[in-house]
Amino acid sequence: MNADFTAEELEFQKEVRQFLEAEFPKDIKHKVDNGIRLEKDDYVRWQKILYKKGWVAPNWPVEYGGTGWNPTQKYIFAMEMGLYGAMEPVAFGMKMVAPVIYSFGNEEQKKRFLPDILASNVWWCQGYSEPNAGSDLASLKTTAVRDGDHYVVNGTKTWTTLGQHADWIFCLVRTDSTVKKQEGISFLLIDMKTPGIKVSPIVLLDGEPEVNEVHFDNVRVPAENLIGEENKGWTYAKVLLTHERTNIAQVPNSKLKLRKLHNLAANTPDGNGGTLLDDPMFARKLAEVDIQVLALEYAELRTLAAVSVGKAPGPESSILKIVGTEATQFIDELYMEVAAYHCMPHVPEQFTEGFEGERVAKGTLASSANVYFNNRKKSIYGGSNEVQKNIISKAVLGL
């Protein structure tokens, strides 16, 4: 057993740190550190820098633009990025549709779509969930009916994150309703500019229109945009759900949040002349979640190690999803506890770029309640934590 980094790996860690110091744009760093909302352009700009460096796609095969790193290097890179506050590229293109395209798409599709995803020239969004197909995703009803060289798509997709910015959407659609529900689903790529598509924003609890409903009304999609075989879409989506859950545990992010939280607690008056960190009740909770994240980190490392010797990640990713999201949510609760009265004001404009006044309530703590509300989504999306527990019951415990 050995979890130490080799000399080369330590050298690599240093290189990543130096790169982040030098290349992560200072204005974006300022936004991240001060809780100022990031814009689409911030993501695009940063991804183009990663792209130029050749580090944009650690998990892609080398032939399509991957880095060729071993699992330890990938881990180091993700950890350093997270601890520095540098955003991961938006997942929909990089982590969700691209692996489907390079695994199951034809050569023409690979050439057409992958380079623009890598370079962040094209934004993607996801069309999986529907109003009546949530945890039971396979019951989706959006139809695609073949008509000559086209599919005609009708239906509604929901919870489409960042759909308002997207150029393309990848969808699971029903192409056969006469067979078992999982067997009549296809994977289709659709240009968001196609006539008949309407995007309507859904405002979430923090007041932000982060997700959308996407309506398809007789949308004609060229048949060449079908990935792989018709009616095999569920298999493609499912394979990638387990394979592409990299960083699902969000350990680097949680570590950064805990580090900041510790700092905040040490500087938050307890109202009696001390600081909140002196409060044993608070200190205990902080330590407990710290320990939980440490256990999670080693659970993730064990999974990575298994993958590196050729074992496919199985239901372990369900553990990472459940524990990772719950840890994040618990950290959000602690931020609110640090904030106390300061968590209450809802003043979103003070978290936008260009706001020059003084913030109501203390620094980033003023958004802590909204962050807590918003992050309740984490145990719901990506296969709810209940669905993850079903997977463990069935696939691991054989129940």
Binding site: S129, N132, G134, S135, D136, S139, T158, W159, I202, V203, L204, L205, G207, T268, P269, D270, G271, N272, G273, D279, M281, F282, E333, M336, E337, A339, A340, Y341, H342, C343, M344, P345, H346, V347, V360, A361, K362, A369, N370, Y372, F373, N374, R376, K377, S379, I380, Y381, S384, N385, E386, K389
Partner: protein, 377 residues
């Protein structure tokens, strides 16, 4: 042993319940929140007309009686509909301070106006660094001839934007954490030297950060004896704590009801999700939490109405807030989780109940604060 309401309490409950059910639906509430003031004058006047604004006050001051159980009855029903009118800042906190500290003239001038609905008040007690310690007061009031001069900043002043008068908690002597030396002043909201930064809270309620710069207040506007206001402030905040605890009990009842209803109708995998035992048990746990929260709030209300000592009363309130706080986290989170994505949208009322009860958890002392206060009292 008798936990039933008196006829008067039953009538009070019926009347508030009827109002909430028939005149305070989710869309109406949203309309009020989006209005300039953030609540409805019309509703407020109706509260006055129906006598609800007399509930916090003693009979000798012209009120309904001022019992904590009465207050609980009203607040629980308010909680079911997430009523946003400033009943707590005006009636319970400010009204409580005036009842406890006010001279005959001050009561005469203020209590009648509160009860008839013509006076809005806000009590400015919290400060940026005070956390939940009511004795941590850095705002100063310095005697200068016949006046006091106030300087300092108050945060999270509920109903601050609409208040005609502010009750400002300031230090007339002693160090920042001393229990002695705290005084309360009645200050005109438009007085020279006051500036307000108004905002909406995450639960939709309006509040303000209030800056006091050399604000001159006549000595006649001192509420109670100089330097001796802390016990009354603690009592008023304790009553408000009981009130929001009862409000949370009502709101959690709504959350449970809505969650069970949803679980019966929402179909996934071909069946209603309420048929899954994993979810059934969690809803049973929500029910248990609701029952325990209700029980401990009743305990605290009865204690406040008893001849118990000041310390026993405070301890009962902290017990209630601590236990209700735990229930809030459980019931709130489970209601959202069982509903799924729809509950994190602004469109559905469930998320708004979740936001209100979460705010209550952090108001007037969070769970840890009250657990520790309970241990030490």
């Amino acid at each position: 042993m008798d936990f039933s309401y008196s006829d008067e309490q039953q009538m009070l409950q019926d009347s508030v319940q009827k109002f909430v059910m028939s005149q305070y639906d989710f869309d109406t509430r949203r309309k009020y929140l989006e209005s300039e003031k953030g609540f409805s004058d019309e509703a407020w006047n109706l509260f006055a007309e129906l006598g609800w604004l007399t509930v916090p006050f003693k009979e000798e001051d012209g009120g309904f009686g001022g019992s904590a159980v009465d207050l609980m009855v009203v607040m629980e029903e308010f909680g079911k509909g997430m009523v946003v009118e400033p009943f707590i800042p005006t009636g319970v906190i400010s009204g409580g301070l005036i009842t406890d500290l006010g001279s005959a003239e001050q009561k005469e001038a203020l209590i009648g106006a509160i009860m008839e609905g013509s006076l809005q008040l806000a009590t400015a007690y919290a400060e940026a660094d005070s956390r939940y310690n009511l004795a941590a007061v850095a705002t100063t009031a310095t005697k200068n001839g016949d006046d006091y001069v106030l300087n300092g900043t108050k945060i999270q002043v509920l109903n601050g934007p609409a208040a005609d008068k502010l009750l400002v908690v300031a230090r007339t002597s002693g160090g920042q954490f001393d229990r002695d030396g705290i005084s309360v002043f009645i200050v005109d909201a438009a007085a020279t030297g006051i500036s307000k930064r108004e905002y909406t809270n995450v639960d939709g309620h309006r509040a303000a950060e209030i800056h006091l710069k050399d604000v001159k207040v006549a000595a006649s506007e001192l509420l109670g004896a100089e330097g001796a206001a802390l016990p009354a402030l603690e009592a008023a905040i304790d009553r408000a704590t009981l009130a929001v605890g009862a409000e949370a009990v009502g709101a959690m009842d709504s959350l449970l009801k809505k969650t069970v209803e949803y679980a019966k109708t929402r179909k996934q995998f071909g069946v209603a999700i309420g048929t899954f035992q994993a979810l059934q048990h969690r809803m049973s746990e929500m029910f248990i939490e609701c029952q325990l929260a209700r029980s401990i709030v009743i305990m605290a209300a009865m204690k406040l109405d008893s001849s118990a000592t000041v310390q026993e009363k405070a301890k009962a309130v902290s017990a209630a807030k601590s236990r209700v706080g735990r229930a809030i986290r459980k019931v709130g989170q489970e209601a959202v989780q069982i509903h799924g994505g729809i509950a994190v949208t602004d469109e559905l009322d469930v998320g708004h109940y979740f936001k209100r009860v979460t705010t209550i958890e952090h108001l007037f002392g969070n769970t840890d604060f009250h657990t520790l206060r309970y241990a030490r009292l």
